[in-house]
Amino acid sequence: MSAIRVPVVEKIFSANDRMAALNHRLLNQEHIYSINLMASPGAGKTSFILETIQHIGNEFKLGVIEGDTAPVTIDSDKVVAAGMPAVQINTGGDCHLDAAMLSDGLSRLPLSTLDLVIIENVGNLICPAAWDLGTHANILIASIPEGDDKPYKYPNIYRGLKVLIINKIDLTPYINFNMEYFRQGVELLNPGLVTFPVSCRTGEGFEAWIDWLRSQVLDQRSN
């Protein structure tokens, strides 16, 4: 019996990545623009989705997939009340959505009627970063009360972002948040990252975000 070293060189998430590629292909076939929305618990993910529906719901048909660790429908109920189809995925305690869960979620949405799908990932800054879902954009919501050190503490999630939303900017006068320090950390990890400061409470900053989103959805529709 002899010991043999066998080269492997395979990414640990390769199975997930293959599934993500299938999701991506399906979304392209349906001409749907898709967003993987990530944030800490309480950063305002659901509020952000609802506010986005308010601004763009009369132009585009939007579907929402809500990821939660518990079997609750609090978030999807709000989206349905706002007039858009939503499905809830219960991860059964897992800290993130993966590509297989998204595939299941997509199969429960009326894809042929949709222009845009927003996936609300589980509130967490570590785990969702590792699992690619196959969406067109990873977007992170950072909120002012969380503090300005988050890029330094959770570098991985900032690496794969296409857009950064800074929420709750109406609270800036009340909170010790050093915007320059925050932005320097982001710049080191993701130079030139497209960033929209907003407030879901006052609606401030949404115009620029909606303009960006509209151009992406229209591009994808004509592809």
């Binding site: 010991a3 066998v6 080191l188």
Partner: protein, 114 residues
């Protein structure tokens, strides 16, 4: 935390390559993990003992090669290593940097017996 699913993924990869090479047993698994990639600590070895039980990977030892985060400055060209806090280029203080190492997260090789 997601160490359990990470461990299951490592097992799937090891088993698939072991079977392709007609292994009787897998004795060692070599992993490369960058400082900026997923947080994976020694708990993976504990999960490993459970998930590999009864397979040809049972009792295999996991080896972690940890890679530091290395940045290259696009202004002055110098390279620097980050161990804790993220910092701009120590030579010229520029923020225009690219990351050249630290995001690795893969199974490099396995050691098998035939």
């Amino acid at each position: 935390m997601h160490e359990l699913s990470v461990t299951e993924n490592i097992l799937d990869i090891a088993l698939s390559h072991a079977n392709t090479n007609h292994a009787k047993r897998v004795t060692d698994i070599y992993l490369v993990i960058g400082r900026l990639s997923s947080i994976v600590d020694d708990s993976v070895q504990l999960y490993w003992d459970f998930v590999s039980e009864g397979s040809i990977c049972e009792a295999a030892k996991l080896h972690f090669e940890r890679k530091p985060a290395v940045f290259r400055c696009q202004d002055c060209g110098s390279e620097y290593q980050i161990d804790s806090d993220l910092t701009p280029c120590p030579t010229c203080n520029s923020f225009r940097t690219i990351i050249i190492s630290g995001e690795e997260f893969f199974v490099d090789s396995i050691e098998i017996e035939k």
